[in-house]
Amino acid sequence: MSMNAVGRPTRPVPGLTLAGTIPATLGGGRGLLQDEGLIFEREGWDSSGVDLPEPSRDAADLGDMVRKAPMRLPGLSEPEAMRHYVRLSQKNHAIDLALYPLGSCTMKHNPRLNEKMARLPGFADVHPLQPQSTVQGALGLMDQLAHWLMTLTGMSAVAMSPKAGAHGELCGLLAIRAAHEARGDARKRVLVPTSAHGTNPATAAFVGYEVEEIAQTADGRVDIADLAAKLGPDVAAIMVTNPNTCGLFERDVIEIAELVHAAGAYFYCDGANFNAIVGRVRPGDLGVDAMHINLHKTFSTPHGGGGPGSGPVVLSAALAPFAPTPFVVKRGEVYELVEYREGEAAQAFGRLCAFHGQMGMYVRALSYMLSHGADGLKQVAEDAVLNANYIKARLSGVMSAAFEGPCMHEALFDDHWLEGTGITTLDFAKAMIDEGFHPMTMYFPLVVHGAMLIEPTETESKAELDRFCDVLLLLAQAAKAGDAERFKGAPFHAPLRRLDETLAARKPRLRWRPELSVGVAAE
């Protein structure tokens, strides 16, 4: 038995492998995974982790408006707060840990230079309503980012203020609606392929349109005949994702645009998948009238566990006059923010949010763009597509690809290859968690049975892709060999086992309440 410097054995005891018989720990912690309760479950609610001076005056002038009832907000000292959140953080998967192949989400590396730049006081410590003469750098940055977005897409204008992709869809459809109304041509319907992301139909309905689905062909693209049949004088727009949510380029996109335009409708393109073509294909060359760009996908602003994002919308010349306020214009050497419906904004459809959009995300995105340049961005698209096709090629022998031919930036599989195993897409995904990978996007798009949508992005090395493919192939073999237990109960090695989502929805418990203690949910 070998000994370490202080004379303790360093090797596991031979024969004691514990597999299958791991005793539960007694206190709840598990090695590096600490058991961490809610902040509300701590003792003592009267401390604070912030030292503030005594207020110099009382609030007698506020009379009975002063809040008396306790709020029940616990305060943590700084060391306690640090531990609490660091412990929580360790229960998360992250792109910085391993491949995060969520299709349609573009989980790529988030350069830290961008974080540093966004925190420069000249960007972070600036108020949105300061006199414009004091924020020329910020307006200049917005203008420069706008220039990059217009050049990369080949479009004539861009509305910067939308705060995420779905907000961008809202922006695009509102511009389309305003353009029709300006002609006295109010229209009722929006056509959306069955494979569309949920935000597309949700946005169209939000804007007051009826949503009609367009069928898909056997090779995963818009069914042009069905589109032609459904187009008519009451159709306002079509919303098509390109590359689409099956990870395929819409080959007939130009023809689609022509059909749509001939019917007097507009072509809204969901640009969530722009990463596949950035620097290589300009949507403006495809007949697109409006397209949102998720800066938090293609241009690497971090997803932050759900946001914030940013969803600027590029617009064709026909839609540009209807762009919402505010926007930046350059007059001579001076940048000006046009904030109201007058002058060049006379036809603006309105306003989407309080200020000028997601400045913090603009800085990050521009930092990313300047770093890559036109040459690097083209390489981004090529590597993203190469990586996805590589995965597709390596896995296709064992797993069933949903469509033949090359894919764009994501590889889509269905669940035919699992037939007869009793294992579902969900089970397979949960087993991936045990192997240290985040599952792919599952059961989306809806048009493919048991869909598994894998988007590696360009920031994965070949070695990491190989490791991922090797593991998936081993898992696939295990599935086919009937090792169902590994899948049905998975994950076994994650911070938690599978969660009871039905219980959560049936008896919604959406906040901590003093009267409900831990474990009550188990009944």
């Binding site: 939000f206 949010c353 090359p406």
Partner: protein, 446 residues
């Protein structure tokens, strides 16, 4: 290129495995007319140093709030954020994770969202809160839409004290949804004017406290009047620190409370990203927009958290969803929740009291300036004054002297007839010498 791991030999080996001769073979589905072999007309890649230089040069062309006396509020507030907050939100596990769709490996995010929802509910005095919206203004627009769904009515009444940008955001959305918006005339102390506008078709009344002009309003009577007519009361809060000192909207009978959460944990950021807070009565939870995190158990009976009630959301309900929101403000919500956990009730109450005291100091200083009239009677940390000149021009002049003197109402409502009204704000970051500098500058200005 430093962010791209593939080497030229990797690329050719991979093409070999794929069975493609060149990368172009993978782009065959792109129509010929749209294929570009050459990079677009933009500069080529640059190193970190060069990028840092270029962006720093732009940053240097902005005057920062911390550079001198600063009195801007009106929907965005400068507060001190503890260093711990920014450190934690930059941890890879929070910064570089996605929406917590796989709860087994996202308990970190889910637990803080649950804590966030609990804090927001406590702060607003409401029963439930969601996991964040884009910002306060979009949350307001969504609240109006929600009220129309709940009541099945088609009219929204907006007070004249509602932030004009919030009002326009709500109007933009309401118009296309067929909800008629009645916006009352701007009034310093006029939230109660909504009482006269409530009728049988009113889905909601939207009031703001403290309002745009800083006025603090007890909305209890408005809640009662709205509810008596079957309408909902939506209370908007743009300065969430105020809730550490002022009665919670829930206590006053609000049905929905929406707020801008930027003040806690988040920088000014020239307007975004911010974090919208959305809270409501529990009976309306199934009509709420946005994500909700709920408690449950795992297969071994251990407590855990999941996203829940998603049958309201776009990815399940598509065109029948309560909202189209998907990506929200997760990381800003984390910043909020960390800062709030550090403050606790004790710290929040004190922070609010300090803000209020500073604003009283500011008001007292301005009362000594001949020609300045204080317009707001009862306020938290911001108030309106009338100046004997054009307020926007005055602000511009003082900016030239290194003082950011506040927000002229004309910036938010041009042609609103309030060109001589200026909104000023003081927070814990305001010093007595800042106030003295402003007072001295104003004395010399007119």
């Amino acid at each position: 290129m430093r962010y791209l791991p593939l080497s030229p030999s990797d690329r050719s080996a991979m093409l070999g495995v794929i069975g493609a001769a060149t990368i172009d073979d993978l782009f065959v589905d792109v129509p010929h007319a749209a294929r570009r072999d050459q990079p677009v007309d933009l500069p080529f890649h640059q190193g970190e140093l060069e990028v840092e230089r270029a962006l720093s040069a732009l940053a240097a062309r902005n005057r920062t709030a911390g550079q001198g006396p600063f009195f801007c509020g009106a929907g965005a507030y400068r507060h001190h954020v503890p260093a711990t907050v920014d450190h934690i939100i930059q941890r890879s596990e929070f910064l570089t994770s996605y929406t917590p769709y796989q709860p087994e490996i996202a308990q970190g995010t889910l637990q803080y969202l649950f804590e966030f929802q609990t804090q927001v509910a406590a702060l607003t005095g409401m029963e439930v809160a969601n996991a964040s919206m884009y910002d306060g203004s979009t949350a307001t627009a969504e609240a109006v839409m929600m009220a129309a769904r709940v009541t099945r009515r088609g009219k929204a009444v907006l007070s004249g004290g509602l932030h004009p940008h919030y009002a326009r955001t709500a109007e933009t959305l309401a118009k296309v949804a067929g909800v008629q918006v009645q916006r009352l005339d701007a009034a310093i102390d006029g939230e109660a004017a909504v009482l006269d506008a409530i009728d049988d078709d009113t889905a909601c009344v939207v009031v703001q406290t403290p309002n745009l002009f800083g006025t603090v309003t007890d909305v209890t009577a408005i809640a009662a009047a709205a509810q008596a007519k079957g309408a909902l009361l939506i209370v908007v809060v743009t300065e969430v620190v105020s809730l550490g000192l002022l009665k919670g909207p829930g206590e006053m009978g609000a049905d929905i409370v929406v707020a801008e959460g930027q003040s806690i944990g988040n920088a000014l950021n020239f307007g975004g990203p911010y974090v919208g807070l959305f809270a409501a009565r529990e009976i309306y939870v199934r009509q709420m927009p946005g994500r909700l995190c709920g408690e449950t158990v795992d297969a071994d009976g251990r407590r855990g958290f999941v996203l829940t009630l998603s049958t309201r959301e776009q990815h399940i309900r598509r065109d029948k969803a309560t909202s189209n929101i998907c990506t929200n403000s997760g990381l800003c919500a984390l910043a909020f929740t960390i800062h709030m956990s550090l403050l606790g009730e004790v710290g929040l109450r004190r922070l609010a009291a300090i803000n209020h005291a500073k604003a009283l100091d500011l008001r007292d200083g301005l009362m000594g300036v001949p020609g300045v009239e204080i317009l707001t009677e009862r306020f938290f940390n911001e108030f309106a004054i009338r100046v004997p000149t054009d307020a926007a021009a005055l602000v511009e002049t003082l900016a030239g002297q290194g003082i950011l003197a506040g927000v002229p109402v004309s910036r938010l409502s041009p042609k609103g007839g309030m060109d001589d009204v200026l909104l000023l704000c003081a927070t814990e970051t305001t010093t007595s010498s800042d106030i003295a500098a402003l007072v001295a500058a104003l004395k010399g200005a007119f």
